[in-house]
């Protein structure tokens, strides 16, 4: 089997993969990075979004064997080494941007990519960008609010009661 070496979350990691092994499978099964989730088989749900060379990619839509030498960032590398959440993660927690947590890794990685390209997106831009990430739990409102907050914009107070 071919061997690939990738820089994953700042560390060089090598693994052997079949030609048909998807990046999502390689991350989960070979490298035990199970934070990247697989929610579908048609590259629709976005639970598996990671960054490949700085760009948001659905890791179920790329073969691992193609990525020798690539830089991969996954959800496991987003918090600080001491475990404290980054700005986006904290905003998701503060604004109830997750429920079951299954879509969350992909959402956080997509949000990071969005804010890199567009540091102050408006609501419509956020909703448009997240078209490739499905969440069945939240109705997206908490997610949109979290991304607004993470980009330093005002959001309505939660649960005004």
């Amino acid at each position: 089997m071919p061997k690939v070496t990738m820089n994953i979350n700042g560390r060089a990691r090598s693994t052997e993969v079949e030609n048909r092994t998807l990046l999502s499978t390689a991350l989960r099964e070979k490298l035990h990075l199970t934070g990247t989730h697989i929610g579908c088989d048609t590259s629709q749900c976005g639970a598996c979004v990671v960054h490949v060379n700085g760009k948001a990619v659905k890791s179920c839509a790329v073969f691992a064997v193609e990525l020798d030498g690539a830089t991969i960032d996954t959800i496991e590398g987003q918090a600080a080494p001491d475990g404290s959440l980054n700005v986006i993660q904290q905003a998701f927690k503060d604004h109830h941007g997750l429920q079951c947590g299954f879509c969350t890794p992909g959402m956080v990685m997509s949000a990071a990519a969005l804010l890199k390209d567009n540091p102050k997106p408006n609501e419509a831009e956020i909703r448009d960008y997240l078209e490739g990430n499905i969440c069945r739990c939240t109705g997206y409102q908490g997610i949109v609010n979290a991304i607004m907050a993470a980009s330093g914009q005002a959001v309505p107070a939660i649960a005004a009661e």
Binding site: G39, D94, G101, T138, G139, Q141
Partner: protein, 788 residues
Amino acid sequence: MPDGGIGAPTKRREDTRFLTGRGKYTDDFTPQNTSYCAFARSQVANGKIKSIDTSAAAAMPGVLAIFTGEDFVEVGGNPAGWAIVSRDGEPMKEPKRPVLAHGKVRHVGDAYAAVIADTLEEAMDAVEAIEADIEELDAVVDMASAVANSGTLVHDEIGTNTCFDWGWIEDNRAATDEAIKKAPHVTTLELINNRLVPNALEPRCSIGEYDPGTGDYKLTTTSQNPHLSRLLISAFVLGIPENKLTVLAPDVGGGFGSKIYHYGEEALVLAAAKKLGRPVKWTATRTEAFLSDAHGRDHVTKIELACEKDGTFIAFRTETMANVGAYLSNFSTATPTFLHGTLMAGNYTVPNVYVNVKAVFTNTAPVDAYRGAGRPEATYSLERVIDKCARELGMDPVEIRRKNFIKKDQYPYASAAGLEYDSGNYDALMDGLEKTADFAGFEARRAESAKQGKLRGLGINAYIEACGIAPSNLVGILGARVGLYDAATVRVNPTGNISVMVGAHSHGQGHETAFPQIVADMLGVDPETIDIVHGDTSKIPFGMGTYGSRSLAVCGSAVFRATEKIIVKATAIAAHMLEDEPDNIDFSDGVFSIAGTNKSVGFGDVALKAYIPHEYPIEGLEPGLEETAFYDPANFTYPSGAYASEVEVDPETGKVTICSMVALDDFGVVVNPMIVTGQVEGGLAQGIGQALLENSVYDDNGQLLSGSLMDYAMPRADDLPSFVVDHSHATRCNHNPIGSKGCGEAGAIGSPPTIVNAVVDALARGGHDVDHIDMPVSPSRVWAAMNK
């Protein structure tokens, strides 16, 4: 009260692990030496299995074992949890649901063989090499044809495609018929409650393990109710003694009903693990989820509303065909009956209600409870026919509802559909809705839309649901084969922190944050010192799990009762420590004290005394501080709400855009308003998905046309508006100790009729003679209705 007690919008503690990729879902577990399972699934909807040749597959690399239906002939079937009796007194038809199809395949995706191999790829490759000779038969897809019994049967042995023909309440039938016959006005509406696929984002996954040294089995699985799954596997399917089977439901990525049920794949991996002496893992693909998860809804209904000329309701009568699919899933017979027919009086003082439901077998995936489970179907039928009636009578839709609302001083109210509502205030909700949704400003907004060439409509809805299922004695009389209590153990540890073991299961609902708020509130301790244990049958008491918006109302009440017992015992210990009688001890803010003195002792010191019982009245008081409560509710709870939505219809394309969605709900006492708001928002998205986007469609041959996320329209962020959610108009639940009613399903119940009412309103105001459009209200359907 400590910070973070009942009513605090505490941030969720579970979020940290989910946000950092440290959640542990079933597929994240791979025990040492795991083997992998893949299923051979039917490609035809109805077929006779003539032969299955596994010899070539068995010779493939890595293949360890192959199972077919023949291997499970001796074991039991997966049962229906609720026995329904037809109007003629006949019990419902209950064909066996085997672990793997045997003799016949009955829907596309019906599993007839399973391969276990060293790797998943090897298992999948070997599935392709199984040679199955399956003779395709005509498929039963359409319910009307199925009931007409054209000679094509889903289950030959029962001689019919009708599972049951149920009437509710049979004693009211004649009076309802008579009232409708004599009524000054009758509005009739035929409608379809569209079939949905739950699509929890985590596909089902099961890992079976067997320890030959002890004879112990372990099933790690995507379940909303691990004890119920264990009971079904032990008592009905495989016969593994309950004490030899642990069921673990770790982090679960959403359920919405679809993970309540026991599925054959769970039994298969356990049986295979025993045979191979190795862990066996199966993870569904999304395609398998579409084909084999229990679907939801799928009712075809005719509803009649009889009323006076002034809009006073006289009777509701419905005839419904409910699809149960090819096999009876565990709650499939309860959902269209007692979770649906009993709600058919809605929020109204209508004197006559009669409901007829025919449950129909078809060659489609099983249909069972999906978020709301029967109550969305009831609400949709009622609230659509009421809107149509108002239009026919020239009445305002708010006015006709208010005229018939049960008034706040009428509780407890015995509804004509057999329930006793304990509390509510529907007028207050409607008052709030009129303000929050700014009905007064609608005309101006409509004019503005018109300038843009858009038709704007306003839709409203009032709903009631029955949650917190359920009183065991009552549901036993009605046919339930289980009790519907829940259970909690509160264990105060020697150092004063607390572990709470609960029967409910959290898969998005935030129990790990909300349940400690109850205990903290009662004990006056920091909620951070309290942890919830759930999802492991070897650790938790026998509770019934999470569905039907029951976790807080039922399991939360068990937590409350167990904590009360803790206080009683801790008070007795404190009394001893303070050298007084328990009756003289006050307990507040975590401190036991004697009024009028400076004598006091803290909760932590009492806990320590319980576990280090020196100088302790050991003759009359056991050491330790741990209590269990089983809570069986006295009644259902009755959340209610009033919703409004404004939509714009593009007359050129028929596209519907939601401009606003306002949800006012009465959930009783709210423990964590942030979580409750999130539950409503998620429900709204699913309801709007049903109203505008989602549809599970089979063709005449029983092929699932909407079998992937590219064909089945899940709501995405850009399909939805921002929501306005308000749960401040609360009336307390009168029969559980917390006063909560349940919030998990409300949004999915209240929103579909709101949206469809708004679309029909927009078309009517635009001069189109359209009185109904079936969901999903897609552009093509709207355009066709406008241009008929």
